[in-house]
Symmetry: C2
Subunit: 357 residues, 2 copies
C-alpha cells in the first residue's frame, strides 16, 4: 500500500484511513502505515508496541498533553469504501470508522505532522483493540509495559463528541443476579419450584428503579441500572431451576467501584448476585489549569460523557482527561455512520489554535 500522505486535508486523510479496513484484530496494515508516516517526520520520537504507536515531541516544555485515538473499528457491514454524501446541503463522509473514530485520528495525524513546535509537549497515542475486551486494548497493554508513556498534565481522547467537550465518564459495572428453584416435569409443576417466576421481583425492582442524576465538578452525570440480558429454562416441559438476569449499572464518577458494587447489591438485596465486571468512571477533571485553558480556547460548554471511554485510564493514572472529537456518538457502530466535513474541520481548528496559542 502507498505511504500515508499526512499533508492532505484531515477530511481527505479520514477518507484514506477509513478505506484501510482495520476491524479489531486486523489493525496491522493501518498501524504499519501510521508508523511509517510518523517515523518519517523527524520531529517525533516514535515507539511501537504491537499495533499501538506512540509519538512524542521532546521540546522541554513545562507541560505535556496526551492526545489519543484508537485505530480499530467494529466490523464492516457493507459500509466501506467511504462515500461522499450530502445532507441538507452539507458534505459528509459516510462509512465505517468515519465517526468511531478515524475522523478524530485523522485530525491527530494531521496535527502531529504539522505542529513541529507546539506550546506544550505532546504525546500522540494511536492504539489497537478498543472495540473488544478491555484486556486486549492496546492502552491496557501499554499501561502495564510502559506506564511512563502516559505521563501528561492533561489528556484529550478523540472519541466522537459532536465537537463538544465531554468531561470524564460514567463508571460501568456488570452483575448477574440468579434465582434458584427445583426442576420438575411441568405436568406435575407442584413438585418443583419455578426459578423464572422467582425472578419477578428482580425485574420489578429494576422497572421501578429511578436512576440518579449526580453533579460532579459542575457536570451532571445521569446513571442507569438495567437488565441487559435474561435467560432461563431447560425444556418446554420442565419447571426451570435457574434464571439469570444480567444487570448493567452505569454510575457517576463520584462513586467508587466499591460503592457502586454495594449499591447494586443493595438494589438486588435478597438475591444471589455475582459481580462479573467493573470499571471505574473518570471525574471530569475540568478544574485542571490546562483543561480550563483548553475549554476557553475551543469556546466549548463542557458536557458529561455517559459512556465509558479510555479517558478513565488516564484519570486512573492521575491525568485529567476529556473526550473531544468529530462525529455524533449515537452514530458510532451504526450502519449509517457518517461525519460532516465541518465537524472534522472544527475539531482540527480547535486543537490547532489551542496547541499553538
Amino acid at each position: 500500500m502507498p505511504a500515508l500522505d499526512l499533508s492532505v486535508s484531515s477530511v481527505d486523510l479520514t477518507r484514506t484511513i477509513c478505506d484501510i479496513p482495520s476491524v479489531s484484530d486486523d489493525e496491522t496494515t493501518l498501524a504499519d502505515a501510521i508508523f511509517e508516516a510518523v517515523s518519517a517526520l523527524g520531529h517525533l520520537d516514535v515507539y511501537r508496541d504491537g499495533d499501538t504507536i506512540v509519538a512524542r515531541t521532546n521540546l522541554g516544555r513545562p507541560q505535556r498533553v496526551a492526545l489519543a485515538g484508537h485505530i480499530d473499528t467494529v466490523p464492516i457491514n457493507g459500509n466501506l469504501p467511504v462515500r461522499d454524501i450530502e445532507i441538507d446541503g452539507q458534505p459528509y463522509l459516510w462509512g465505517r470508522g468515519t465517526v468511531d473514530m478515524k475522523g478524530g485520528v485523522a485530525v491527530q495525524l494531521t496535527l502531529a505532522a504539522e505542529l513541529i513546535a507546539p506550546r506544550v509537549d505532546i504525546t500522540w497515542l494511536w492504539y489497537d483493540h478498543e472495540e473488544v475486551d478491555a484486556e486486549r486494548n492496546g492502552l491496557t497493554r501499554l499501561a502495564r509495559t510502559r506506564p511512563d508513556l502516559f505521563a501528561a498534565d492533561f489528556a484529550i481522547l478523540g472519541e466522537p463528541s459532536n465537537g463538544n467537550v465531554e468531561g470524564g465518564c460514567n463508571g460501568n459495572l456488570r452483575a448477574i443476579a440468579r434465582t434458584h428453584g427445583v426442576r420438575a416435569h411441568s405436568a406435575r409443576s407442584w413438585m418443583g419450584e419455578n426459578a423464572i417466576h422467582a425472578a419477578a421481583p428482580i425485574l420489578a425492582r429494576l422497572a421501578e428503579y429511578r436512576a440518579r442524576e449526580v453533579p460532579v465538578e459542575g457536570l451532571v452525570y445521569r446513571e442507569g441500572l438495567n437488565a441487559v440480558r435474561i435467560g432461563g429454562g431447560v425444556a418446554g416441559n420442565v419447571i426451570p431451576d435457574l434464571c439469570e438476569v444480567e444487570v448493567n449499572y452505569r454510575f457517576a464518577p463520584s462513586r467508587t467501584l466499591d460503592e457502586a458494587e454495594r449499591h447494586v447489591r443493595s438494589a438486588l438485596e435478597g438475591f444471589d448476585v455475582e459481580i462479573v465486571d467493573r470499571a471505574a468512571g473518570a471525574r471530569p477533571g475540568l478544574d485542571a489549569p490546562l483543561a480550563q485553558e483548553f475549554l476557553a480556547a475551543v469556546g466549548a460548554e463542557p458536557r458529561p460523557k455517559y459512556g465509558w471511554t479510555d479517558v478513565a485510564r488516564f484519570s486512573a493514572l492521575g491525568v485529567p482527561a476529556v473526550n473531544y472529537g468529530p462525529g455524533d456518538p449515537s452514530l458510532a457502530h451504526h450502519d449509517e455512520e457518517r461525519v460532516s466535513y465541518a465537524q472534522i474541520e472544527d475539531v482540527e481548528r480547535g486543537l490547532r489554535e489551542w496547541l499553538t496559542a
Copy 2:
C-alpha cells in the same frame, strides 16, 4: 440379530428389548424384530407402516380393545445394557427403557403371543417416535393413513403408571408472551425502553397464579401455568427491545382447547401472546362399560393422569382410554430408570385375567 422369543417371561422379554437400543429415529432394528415375531404367530393380522406395527385378532367378538405402546426411548445416558439390581430385597431391571416403556411393551408382546382366543378382539399397536415432536409420532401418521385401525370400544396405553389405572390426561398448551421496547446504548438507557423490565408483571402474575384442581368424572385433575423458558437481550451494553417468556399451561380435560387458549390469554391480558402449540386433554372415560369391567378386574382405584399421553388420540377419536403400565412415571427419562419385576408381573397378570375372563 436373533429372532425375538415371545415365549419367555415378560421380565426377560423386557430385558431383551431394552438391550436392543431404539432411541427415537433409530427404532427400525427393534421394529423389524417385533414385526417378524408377531408375523410368525399365525393368529394375528399384521400391518406395518414405517416402524409402527399393528397386529389384530379377528375373532368376530362383539367388542374390541386397543392396547398400545411406543417402542422408542429418550437417549441412552450410560444406562444400557440393562442390569439386574435389588432394592429392599426386591429384584429390579435397571436401564433405559425399563420404565418408559419397554416393560409395558414386553407385557403386551407376551400376551399378544399367548392370547389366541381372548374374550374381546384385540388391536395391538407398537409405534415409533413418541418421545419427539407430535408430528413425527407413529400414531399421528397412522391416524391420517389408517384411522380405521384405531376403531375400538376401549383402549389401554401401557405408559408407566406404577401399575395403577390412570384415567385420561390433562391438556397441554404452549404460548409465548412477548414484551417490546426500544433499543439504546445502556450508557444512555433513558433513550430506550427496557423490554426485560416490561416482563416483570408477566412473571409476577405467573408467580401469583393459583392452579385449579378440577374434578372430571370423579378424578381430580391438577392444573399448572408456568414459565418454562425466558430469553431477552442483545449485548451487555444494549437496552433490550424484546423479551420472550414461554408459558406452559396444563389443563383439565374438561376444558376445550379454545377455553384453554382463552384462559391463557386472559391470564396474560395486556401482553402480546402467541399460542405455539396446543393438545387437548382426554376425559377419563371410566364410565364406559368395558372400562368399568377393566377396573373391577384389576381391582384398581383409578387416578388422574397429569401428563399428556397418547390416550388423548384415542379419546379424540371417541375411544375411551386409560394408562396402565409397570414403572414409576417419575423415573421415566431418569438416568436411574428402573422397574421392579413385581410390577411387570402384576400388570401382565391384570391384563391376562381381564382379557381372558
